[in-house]
Amino acid sequence: MAVLTVQNLSKTFNLGTARESRVLDDISFEVKGQTFVSIVGPSGCGKSTLLNIISGVEEHTSGDISLTSDAGGPARMGYVFQDPRLLPWRSVMQNMMYVQDDQSPATVSRAKEYLDMVGLAKNADFFPGQLSGGMQQRVGIARAFAVEPDLLLMDEPFSHLDAITARGLREQLQDIWAQSKKTVVFVTHDVVEAVELSDRIIVLQPGGLIYEDITIDLPRPRRQTDKNVATLQAEVLARLEKLKAMSVAEPVA
């Protein structure tokens, strides 16, 4: 069963005075349960827009989107944004609980577990302003996992971080994912990162079309130092060579 089905999805932004810009153009794909899918593409090709539409924050112009939940009822979603998006006036733990449906002690201890997994158990009572940028981003990640979502959306969660922290978090993400097997849609512009993390990579090209849909069949856990990973990364990069030549989305009349 597919957790996420996207059919003929198009998105056009109205730029006022009769100008509009087509950002996504007739996109279709399906994401099955327990898979880790990456959306890759150059800056401005519509990756964040796609996630926002899936999450319901943004409206789409045409096409269909459906989400299925395991438990019945509306599908639960977790979203790790490009920035942490924490309530500055609430503690880390209060931020974790803010998004939880039920506020029972069981949920509290689950939230604590995930906080522990990202190495922030000691910082539960801190305000976000008292944490570094990387730590705040980790709270965002723990918060998303702690709602135990049917679908977890992640929008370049490591792009603001230094290489060392990002690498550590990627390994952590793989570990957490191996334990919980959530369905993940992970946006990145970094092909190397995508190969390391995903079962499948959907490549978007400027203008909002699907350029390629690549299956990554490598054993886990994968580490950057792993030879097979490196070989495949080089191969995928080579296949996307042509994308470089394409210009970034231009408004159509």
Partner: protein
């Protein structure tokens, strides 16, 4: 580059070094307390000089004596109590109504289009106009000062709260939306903390403007109270008694602002200070 440059070293001093190298007397002299005391002293000096220069400006000593007289006549507490009663009802109403209207105005485009002009008109009508009108409408009683206080204060609360609600971060609202956070929790943990500063600013304005309103309405309404008593002495050409009441009500508002409002505002911003 061809030009020679002489090297200059900019040294940043540590807080410990600054702390140790500044003499004690200098620290005291440049403290905030010193600034407040200086302002107070300057005010008294100017007052004394003015009273020497102009016969119609009563000096601090004379005003002090009149103040004692009023206390011993038993005029102070009764009139003050009457004024405070009117003032707190008016300002309390303005706060409650102002927050409710402000939140609605901040959330809905349509209500903003509807309410924007009336609120602006309200902001621009001075307390003195309201006090004339309310005395005309309600005569000499509690009603006209209460309504005047309310009407002068409420637009300030509305405009500030609406501004604050509009400014609640779009990113945080989207985040709440994707996680399906229930409405009540959003108001409590997102909207209210985000607008605390605006509510506080609005209430502060409301208190100061409302105090204006209540005094003016009493001045013209003649139904007792601080404003009425000040006018009584003014009409009797006794500027000392008049100034004594001015000192009383100015003192009251300053103390209220410094010790109650300021502290409440600081307490609600603790999350920001503790970085």
């Amino acid at each position: 580059m061809t030009t020679m440059q002489r090297s200059a070293v900019t040294k940043r001093r540590s807080t410990t070094e600054i702390e140790q190298s500044t003499p004690e007397w200098q620290k005291r002299l440049t403290s905030e307390t010193a600034a407040r005391v200086t302002a107070l002293l300057a005010f008294v000096v100017i007052w004394v000089v003015m009273s020497w220069l102009f016969s119609r400006v009563p000096g601090p000593v004379e005003v002090g004596e009149r103040l004692v007289d009023e206390f011993s006549r038993g005029e102070v507490f009764g009139n003050f109590g009457m004024t405070l009663y009117r003032f707190f009802i008016g300002v309390g109403l303005a706060t409650v109504v102002g927050i409710a209207v402000g939140v609605v105005m901040g959330l809905s485009q349509l209500s903003r289009a509807f309410l924007e002009s009336p609120v602006l008109v309200g902001l621009s009508i001075p307390a003195i106009i309201w006090s004339f009108l309310t005395v005309m409408w309600f005569g000499f009683g509690d009603m006209s000062p209460i309504i005047t206080t309310f009407l002068t204060a409420v637009p300030f609360v509305v405009i500030n709260v609406a501004q604050g609600v509009r400014g609640v971060s779009r990113d945080l609202r989207d985040m709440s939306e994707t996680y399906n956070v229930p409405f009540g929790r959003r108001v409590r943990h997102l909207v209210l903390p985000a607008v605390t500063g605006y509510v506080a600013a609005g209430v502060r304005f409301a208190i100061i403007m409302g105090w204006n309103g209540v005094l003016l309405a009493e001045w013209f309404g003649g139904g007792g109270g601080v404003g009425y008593r000040a006018r009584f002495w003014y009409d009797a050409n006794r500027y000392g008694g008049f100034a004594a009441w001015v000192v009383l009500f100015v003192g009251f508002i300053v103390i209220l602002d410094r010790f109650v409002l300021d502290r409440a505002i600081q307490r609600s911003f603790r999350w920001r200070d503790s970085r």
